[in-house]
Symmetry: C2
Subunit: 545 residues, 2 copies
């Protein structure tokens, strides 16, 4: 039998994983990988960190080279080689060697499409200025490094994951950084409350943020350029980073007549086969299944891409033993200076936009035993189905332990756990690592209390002046940062001061973190008051920087 | 209706949680808590850290006091008050005020037994020496602090969680510390391989370890004492800490005729009711259900104790809305200097002893992206059902990210996930936090490879000289730390050197971490060799310090 000919288009996460797994499963296959860029299998998530010098050695980002792929995997990798056309009938691909312009047909038995996604570039005046960059690969990174220096003015357009990382790293390199963000807050995926600590971190490092604004044109200056914003503001810039999202690279697939999704992603089945069973696709260019609701979704992340490549290779070689790709959850995290924030599953914004029913619970608690030095606050929001209690998503922000909570909740969501289930997750507890009741348990308790009618919660201070706001914090704190219009009755003296509260008017209890206000609401409710507790506490409401 | 009278015996984790939750659910109940010790609701897991001065302020360990319980919860807490006898017929408890000796009967409608567990003290000669301590409460801690000083000789008997923490903290205080451990390695819960990094950490701090040995008698000296070991060795000591396990405090329950388990723990149903439905029990003294196999189990941990107390209160007040306690998993972690180790679910030792069928997979990988500075190795073992692939337990050791992996796997085990499921957990990945393929995914991949017959693994070097050991590490490493009797053929040159391996003799491939040996085994197997890969790599086999 002739060896199987595998052709891989795009040699980064999904393509490289596919090739590696294919080789482990078939020592005889002829595996050829073509990559349009200069590099294969590089660490794309690490690129911002080399710009700022946090990763000092560029070589560590080039995880594999054509030479190492040949040596380790006997894979023939060709960089600077672009796929031009797929001839599905004859199972061959026209490729062009970019340095020479020479074209040739490469035949395949099975084809893997892993072209990835390209940074979106807005069609606005002046966007072709060479001082305007995107960041996709090592070559982009090299150009950004060459074009930036301490003291320069940088404007980052878009405050998603890449934009935030780039802002931090350019600041680290000594540039003066401004961020322009179309929406009302950074990290548009998460709720505005969760973004506050990130914006504080940016502000404390002197990074200026322009929200609810966007660049409408770039004006070429003598030594720099000027970003004209929709608001009329103008920001001078020596360098601009565009990080406003990505587009799947699916032109090749479209021209080959493969089925695409609504937003142009390549449609695949659970084994990553496209509408042509001899052509697999994986990575940022494909549409896969949302693990929460089972709907089509496109999630551009390194983890899914790698595992999709593996699933495709398994399907090709493992027969009955191959297992389907179960879909993507969208677990993501970003660090901005000392603050981390992220989400898993469906975020509140996405649920809100979808119109699906959901309940939300926000709690604050420390990341390890409060009595052990260094405890840091974790703010955790869980989203759940009000009917069944099933977890739909989570968002978290804080200085420590954020990745752990997201990972546990990603696992819980995958397992279709409910708010009752997470009450009883038994997580590792020793003082340096956790608490007897982890913030995840606490979130479960709080959600069950809501579901069971033990507490009514609100996420904002009442605007209706007839509502009494009872601040149950200790006197010193309450006096230092008073809540306008509130009456201060600390929890320990509440039972003795019920006569200070009007039984005929609704009450909102407030405290710093949402715990004591809940305690107080239980006392008041059982004494006949109409009471609501401020969930998440006053910290979540603190004015933006 | 008269207010419900609740009496709580034992005011630490389970009892305090019960009282707090009961108060939130019933503002009118009369809640009395009696505690034999000097303190209620203290942070028992924090005690070792104050001995070493890592927690500087003793006050933070006294989470609640009778005064704060009164103020916050309207609970009447009486310390130095011991329960002598339960009169179930008349629903009252005889209690003794320890300072005065005065006895009185306290009546109850519902009783909570949360007496905890007492440190085990071996019945050997000289054990009553005042220099010999156990550590259960703040008073014990105060005595240890008073009796220890820099330069003293300390012997810690028992190298479980408390023993290891105490050894580290006494070292931190400047004592010369020795540990005596009955079994072959520290942290007897986990497999010997996982204990190696802990033992290295102890050795690197000059803490001497005496394994496979035990104290048979204590001899009183003039200014100190001498520990006589079974081996004949003698260890002088200014202070001794006994940390050889605990015994449930179930005498009161036994004398009241409540049902006890085989090992003397109080038997409860899923709502924490004892055999007398008016008496609940929770915490270290009870026997609950193992979440893996559903068998009776006694697990003395703070998390379960707290949640059990809550479940009991819910059962009492929430009617239909009360949810059962789902059982305990036994998730535990310990830090020894910079190394953390722990387990969740069933450990390999426990499975081995039970005779139940299981498969084991050990992998090593970094705790976050290898290209990002500070990546640390995680050694992870998963135990799984060879028939169904269901996860049964996990053990992990390393310098960073151990708690996270245990927590994710605790969640996965609770959800009855399989090795296939953990391949596709989508965990948070950004360079400072994780990897595109987390070590948990890698463990899933490796386990599936075993199950699917892609690799045969071994955990030790072959003793049979006819087996060829092929060391596939790079030449410099292989030459620096050679494997006796091996042939060094690095993976990249393996395909070109197959003729150097005898096809008629079995082959074991070895490398540092177990990854390249797997890669090599795939190449060799597909070329017709009878090959086994050393799982976990050579690091797991390195000689003990």
């Amino acid at each position: 039998m002739n060896p199987l000919k595998l052709l891989v288009i795009g040699g980064v996460a999904a393509g490289a994983s596919f090739a590696a797994r294919a080789r482990r499963l078939d020592e005889n296959a002829e595996i050829t990988m073509i990559e349009r860029g200069n590099d294969v299998s590089f660490a794309n998530c690490g690129l911002p960190y080399h710009v700022g010098g946090e990763i000092t050695d560029r070589n560590v980002l080039a995880v594999q080279t054509p030479a190492s792929l040949k040596a380790m995997l006997n894979v023939n990798a060709r960089t600077r080689c672009e796929a031009i056309r797929i001839d599905r009938q004859n199972k061959k691909v026209l490729v062009r060697d970019l340095p020479t312009g020479r074209e040739e047909w490469l035949s395949y038995d099975k084809l893997m499409l892993s072209p990835g996604a390209a940074p979106r570039v807005p069609a606005i005046e002046g966007v072709d200025n060479p001082r305007i960059h995107v960041l996709r690969n090592l070559s982009d990174m090299d150009r950004i490094i060459a074009d930036t220096a301490a003291g320069m003015e940088a404007v980052v357009v878009g405050a998603g994951f890449i934009g935030l990382e780039m802002a931090e790293q350019l600041h680290r390199k000594g540039l003066k950084v401004k961020i322009v963000q179309k929406g009302p807050h950074v990290l548009p995926q998460v709720d505005g409350r969760m973004a506050v600590p990130l914006e504080r971190a940016l502000a404390s490092h002197g990074i200026e943020l322009f929200t609810n604004d966007e660049v409408v044109r770039f004006e070429k200056g003598d030594a720099s350029l000027v970003c004209h914003l929709a608001s009329g503001k103008t920001l001078p810039a020596d360098v601009v980073i565009l990080s406003i999202g990505i587009e799947p690279e699916s032109t090749l697939a479209r021209e080959a007549g493969l089925k695409l999704g609504k937003r142009g992603h390549i449609v695949v089945n659970e084994f990553m086969q496209t509408s042509d069973p001899d052509i697999y696709a994986a990575g940022d260019a494909v549409e896969t299944t949302d693990r929460v609701f089972g709907k089509p979704v496109a999630i551009a992340l390194g983890g899914p891409a790698n595992r999709q490549g593996r699933v495709a290779a398994d399907h090709l070689f493992l027969g009955d033993k191959a297992r389907p790709y179960p879909g993507s959850l969208g677990t993501a995290i970003v660090r901005v200076f000392d603050v981390a924030a992220g989400s898993t599953g469906w975020t509140e914004n996405r649920l809100k936009a979808s119109g699906l029913p959901y309940a939300v619970t926000t709690v604050n608690d420390v990341h390890h035993a409060s009595y052990y030095p260094g405890a840091q606050m974790v703010t955790l929001t869980i989203l759940w189905d009000p009917e069944t209690g099933r977890l739909l998503g989570a968002e978290a922000v804080g200085v420590a332990g954020i990745d752990k909570r997201l990972d546990v909740l990603a696992t819980a969501i995958t397992a279709r756990m409910t708010i009752d289930d997470i009450c009883h997750l038994e997580l590792a507890y020793a003082p340096p690592f956790g608490s007897a009741k982890d913030v995840i348990n606490i979130a479960g308790f709080a959600a069950c209390n809501q579901r069971d009618g033990l507490v009514d919660v609100t996420t904002g201070l009442p605007s209706d002046p007839s509502v009494q706001v009872i601040d149950v914090r200790g006197k010193p704190v309450a006096q230092a940062s008073p809540v306008p219009g509130s009456v201060n009755i600390p929890v320990p003296s509440l039972r003795d001061n019920l006569d200070k509260i009007d039984r005929n008017r609704p009450v909102v209890t407030v405290c710093a973190l949402g715990k004591n206000s809940y305690f107080a609401s239980r006392i008041l409710r059982q004494n006949g008051f109409n009471v609501t507790s401020l969930a998440g506490g006053l910290t979540a409401l603190i004015e933006k920087p």
